[in-house]
């Protein structure tokens, strides 16, 4: 019974923790401009994140070691360093976007300017990372993130033509007023938002924090194969409500307030309050995850003691690094660059950094020296290789498309 509860909790937190500021903004923006004609990109990213999260979780369960520790050992210090720099920069940018996202969410609830919230939020994030147990952090924010299911309820209350929505997903047509390069630019943004690198580092490092063993692989697989797809459906429902409410009104999303507008239209005030709670929980949870991931990656690469399973004073360098990254992130938001702009760039740069993140995971998960009888099977390797090709194409196309479309204009 206890194990069953653990599995259920894992699935729920996987759903609630799936969506972050990148998913919220990118899905709503794309829904408001392209309808559901780009839902395929989210679905492709979803399959990819399931595939690679399962691999990284399995690696953590079998080896009890962090990803970057293994990457450095398996690929050598130079390749490992390139991987570390790219992943750290993208994760730190995402961390900045998440802190901006919490502040914007609180502004919606209070109408107090988001910049005034930022220093207090920095302090709150640091205190939680410093003091609160890993499992409490993960479960509380994951469960509170479930309030975003209000988007699914809103979709149902809008009484859409379900056949029409499914047709838009199954037979995608680019809207005539949007150019082909812009269409593919946003496809890559959605793909990057779904496959954000930190999700994999956090998932595998979390496995080490929670002392997973080979026995936990089944639980880990259930979390990934059930929780993540349901989280992905939530992303699609965010795009769907934007497509139904905002697109016909000629509203193109560029603020968090616009993301919540369809909830007010469909379900009213109470649901909107629940959605704001969901925004806060999703961005706060993701801020903790990205902040920890920055610390995990560097500490694992350099072989420092890391994690929340030891007392903070025993992992001093890890906590100092998280604190320094947090100060940088808070400073980044305080520059007054629009957090939504930071978010839009973070998901595209995530796509650029994807090969450096996912290639080493495929290599290690396929290495019998590390994995023994839990190494990748043929199907897993086949799918992993196909995804690596997709990832490389998306990564190579992201920057040229950013130039060409002036960042999706």
């Amino acid at each position: 019974m206890k194990r069953l509860l653990g599995v259920a909790l894992g699935i729920l937190t996987a759903i609630g923790g799936f969506v972050d500021i990148g998913d919220l903004v990118t899905n709503a923006l794309v829904g408001s401009r392209f309808g559901l004609s780009l839902a395929w990109a989210t679905l492709v990213g979803l399959v990819g994140i399931c595939l690679y999260a399962e691999m990284s979780g399995r690696v953590a369960a079998v080896t009890s070691r962090g990803t970057f520790d293994l990457v450095r050992e398996r690929l050598g210090p130079r390749a490992g360093l390139a991987n570390l720099i790219a992943s750290f920069l993208v994760t730190a940018l995402t961390f900045t976007a998440e802190i901006g996202g919490i502040a914007l969410s609180l502004e919606l609830a209070t109408s107090v300017n988001y910049l005034l919230w930022v220093p207090m939020l920095g302090l709150a994030v640091w205190l939680l990372i410093w003091r609160v147990k890993f499992s409490i952090m993960e479960n509380v924010f994951g469960l509170l993130g479930l309030t975003l299911l209000v988007f699914g309820v809103a979709l149902w209350q809008l009484h859409p033509q379900w056949g029409d929505l499914l047709h838009q997903i199954a037979v995608p047509h680019k809207p005539t007023n949007e150019g082909t390069p812009v269409y593919f630019y946003y496809a890559i943004a959605l793909f990057g938002a779904a496959m954000t690198p930190y999700e994999v580092f956090f998932f595998s490092s979390g496995g080490v924090e929670e002392k997973w063993t080979k026995k936990d692989i089944i639980t880990e697989r259930i979390n990934v194969y059930l929780g993540f797809p349901l989280g992905g459906l939530l992303s699609v429902s965010i795009a769907a409500v934007a497509a139904i409410v905002l697109l016909p009104n000629n509203i193109s999303v560029n603020t968090l307030g616009q993301v919540g507008l369809p909830i007010a239209v469909a379900s009213g005030k109470l649901a909107l309050a629940v959605a704001i709670l969901g925004f806060v929980a999703a961005t706060f949870g993701a801020a903790l995850e990205t902040g920890l991931s920055c610390g995990y990656s560097v500490a694992q690469y350099f072989g420092w003691q890391w994690g929340k399973f030891v007392r903070p004073r025993d992992a001093g360098r890890f906590h100092l690094l998280v604190l320094l990254t947090l100060i940088l992130a808070v400073g980044g938001v305080l520059t007054t660059i629009n957090p939504i702009t930071i978010t839009e760039y973070s998901v595209v740069f995530s796509a650029v950094a994807l090969p450096l993140t996912y290639f080493p995971i495929l290599v290690i998960a396929n290495d019998p020296d590390y994995m023994g009888d839990k190494a990748n099977g043929r199907i897993c390797n086949f799918l992993g290789s196909i995804y690596l090709v997709i990832i490389v194409v998306a990564s190579a196309a992201a920057i040229p498309l950013m130039f060409w479309t002036k960042a999706g204009q």
Binding site: S111, N250, V265, K269
Partner: protein
């Protein structure tokens, strides 16, 4: 390694600089397409404000949420207007005509949004209804502009 970092940093700065900047319009056609984009972007902000006021009047949105959305729309609208005004139009009569036509609509929209914010904060329901009526006309004119020149 230092050289690699330098090149990477320069590249990053270049990407950010180019993807965010406003270029001059060399031909009337280019200027017209920028005007259409401006009309569409500003229309999006007006529609956001109008829909939010409508939802609040129906009791479907909180007052604090409305105030934030209106403030954000006003800021975004002002930024769109400034960006358009900073574009050097080509030396043609048609470009000047486009600029004059859109500028009037943008000024009306900016004034209307500011007024909407003030009235919303005062919770002046009657004033809001009148302002919504005016802004709806401006939104329709912006839509027409975008359709005619798009």
């Amino acid at each position: 390694m230092t050289r690699v970092f330098r090149v990477a940093f320069a590249g990053l700065v270049f990407v950010f600089a180019l993807s965010g900047c406003v270029g001059p319009a060399r031909t009337t056609h280019t200027y017209e397409s920028k005007a259409v984009r401006t009309a569409n972007d500003s229309l999006s902000e007006l529609q956001t404000a109008l829909l939010s006021v409508q939802m609040t009047r129906r009791g479907r949105m909180m007052q604090v949420y409305l105030e934030t959305v209106l403030s954000e729309s006003e800021d975004a609208f002002s930024s769109i207007q400034n960006t358009f005004d900073s574009i050097q139009p080509p030396d043609t009569g048609r470009a000047d005509q486009l600029r004059a036509g859109l500028d009037t609509l943008l000024s009306d929209g900016a004034d209307g949004l500011a007024q909407l914010r003030i009235l919303a904060r005062r919770q002046d329901t009657r004033g809001l209804a009148a302002e919504v009526h005016k802004l709806t006309a401006t939104a329709a004119a912006l839509d027409k502009f975008a359709q005619e020149h798009g």
